[in-house]
């Protein structure tokens, strides 16, 4: 019998029921809930008189529309208040643990899952959020679902799924100097296209992935959805186990060692086959910047804004023309000459302690450009505490950054953290869609180091040349 991929192993271990001609019923080990995609699901349960089957496998947090300013003050937006109260009531009524904005466990849902040890290898993890792919960095099958499916999981602890195909993305060597996990995933999306992974689960392999920290692997898996794949995954290894050892909700003591033995069985067998394989030439990678309005519209920082006329496909040409109009960019402008107004360091892609350390190292002893407003939003309360213990907050504050409380913030600008029309932002988040960070705001996706350097310089710079 041929070997199995990691995805197939996890899939097979979670099939509750399967009939020919019907999608399988998969058991869900962990269901993460946040305020934006859950209220209608809880209302649905109430209307049907149903209960939450496994509140003990469900965890809720408030992250999307929470303010990142002083939390002792009342929240000004009455509609956000209503949504946050809805979540509090739902959690209470259905007995689900909730990290609300006053909890030391609060943070972005995809940051706190791993941080608190809920995210573990071999699990099936769902959340009403497309960046659930993040958790795949631990060798889990983690996928985003819509609100109807949130309700389905709440009621049944299962998900009905047609089995995806598998795509291997192999990063065939070490990442060159100055190239981060963020640059890597932007380059991957640039190569496969924003629908390249549709219908697939991506498994990232190769030295470029193995070398990454868990934070870096999370950054890569996080943006799998930006390449069209509902889930991304990385085989667990000693780094994974070291990360999880001692975390609050991970197995403890002997149970942890037993779990590690099980987790070691997960990686893809040597003779297993993927449906598709894409090879990424690691040696050719450079720091990346997006120029357009989707995450596949990227180029090297040393490159130029492309000329739409250079696109062969008419639909892509039209899309590039639209993007340049929206972004207020002229073809052939060197990326390093584009001036920026705002810098956002945060989001479930790049708000972990490693990201903040990397950014702080770039800005230490320097000042943010007069023309730039810059902010750092840690991914969780715990990360904020840790950063403050390490003195990173001082480095950012001394440089002229704002130092905020944890949440999604200007990644999607549902709270008051928004770009003004026409403002141009170097952002460590994951989506540069029109209006994503504020109506008519212009987003360029970059790594934390590149965002930090852009804040100081007032324009994009090649981080490989940075000296401070």
């Amino acid at each position: 019998m041929p070997g199995k991929t990691m995805f197939e192993k996890i899939w097979d271990a979670h099939v509750v029921a399967e009939e020919p001609g019907k999608p399988a019923l998969l058991y869900v080990d962990l269901h993460l809930v946040h305020e934006v995609t859950s209220p209608q699901a809880f209302d649905g349960l109430r209307m049907a008189g149903r209960r939450v089957r496994r509140p003990d496998l469900t965890v809720a947090t408030a992250d999307h529309d929470v303010p990142t300013t002083d939390r002792s003050l009342p929240i000004e937006d009455p509609i956000a208040v209503q949504q946050l109260e809805h979540l509090s009531n739902d959690a209470r009524e259905f007995n689900i643990p909730l990290a609300d904005i006053h909890s030391p466990l609060q943070g972005i849902v995809h940051v706190i899952g791993p941080e608190q040890g809920y995210t573990q290898p071999g699990k099936v993890i769902v959340c009403g959020d497309s960046h659930t792919a993040t958790h795949g960095a631990f060798g889990a099958f983690a996928l985003g679902v819509g609100t109807s499916e949130v309700e389905h999981v709440l009621a049944t602890q299962t998900l009905r799924q047609a089995k995806q195909k598998t795509m291997q993305v192999d990063v065939n060597g070490p990442l060159p100097f100055g190239v981060t996990a963020k640059d890597l995933i932007l380059a991957i999306i640039g190569q496969i296209g924003i629908d390249g992974g549709t219908g697939h689960v991506i498994e990232y392999t190769g030295q470029g992935i193995r070398d990454l920290s868990m934070a870096g692997r999370m950054t890569v898996c996080n943006m799998s959805i930006e390449g069209g794949a509902r889930a991304g995954m990385v085989a667990p290894d000693e780094k994974t186990f070291d990360y999880l050892r001692g975390r609050a909700n991970a197995p403890q003591g002997d149970a942890f060692d037993e779990a590690v033995e099980r987790w070691k069985q997960l990686p893809t067998d040597p003779d297993a086959a993927y449906d598709t394989t894409v090879v990424i030439d690691a040696a050719s990678l450079t720091p990346m910047v997006s120029w357009g309005t989707n995450p596949g519209q990227v180029t090297q920082v040393t490159g130029r804004v492309p000329d739409p006329a250079s696109f062969g496909n008419p639909a892509d040409r039209e899309s590039a023309e639209r993007a340049l109009r929206y972004m207020g960019l002229e073809p052939n402008t060197p990326m390093e000459e584009i001036p920026i107004d705002r810098v956002f360091i945060g989001s479930c892609t790049n708000s972990r302690i490693e990201d903040l350390r990397d950014a702080a190292a770039v800005v230490q002893g320097l000042r943010v450009s007069d023309r730039v407003g810059a902010m750092v939003v840690p991914g969780s309360y715990a990360i904020k505490q840790q950063a403050e213990a390490e003195g990173l907050d001082r480095i950012f504050l001394d440089a002229g950054f704002e130092w905020r409380n944890a949440g999604c913030s200007m990644c999607l600008a549902m709270n008051p953290d928004q770009l003004l029309p026409g403002e141009r932002c170097a952002s460590t988040s994951n989506r540069n869609f029109e209006g994503r960070q504020g109506k008519d705001g212009r987003t360029h996706l970059v790594s934390p180091q590149m965002a930090a350097a852009a804040a100081i310089a007032g324009h994009f710079v090649d981080i490989r040349e940075w000296k401070n």
Partner: protein, 195 residues
Amino acid sequence: MDAFTVHTGVVMPMDRVNVDTDQIIPKQFLKRVERTGYEDFLFFDWRFHADGSPNEEFVLNFPGYKEASVMVAGRNFGCGSSREHAPWALQQYGFRTIIASSFADIFYNNCLQNGLLPVRLSEKDVDHIMIQAKEVPGYQVTVDLASCTVSDGQGFSAAFSLDEFKRYCLLNGLDDIGLTLQEEGAITTFESQRA
């Protein structure tokens, strides 16, 4: 969920690729806790100017498409966020079905959960419908889920495929959760075997 069997309606051309769910329903409307009332916010930032007046250059505001209930769109429709508010907004505005050569996975699934039928056709067939919808006033197609075909009564006909189970649920307007709860025994057995 609403059942879908057969639907005939005017086609609106959304001639753009990679339309993301942030455009279909912008984030400021996701703070609502209701499941209805999203029709006025569909494509909000493309549909209205900053002062609230309609953008007459956006296809949704063209007089000829006011009654449209079928949308034909460029590839990879519905990419990005998992917000189910996107299919809700499309459906509540009056769309019953969306035709494209490809859809993003989560959006596709969310449509099926709500009885909004996503129809995948070849690029060539989508192009044909797109051109007709732009050029022929009041151009209509019939989408028939029983026979899995799209036709325009003027010689165009194309077949599409859909997962058999989903098709069955849609044709009968069946509630997914109710169906799964019929398998509660299997879920309980699975849980006890793992414990």
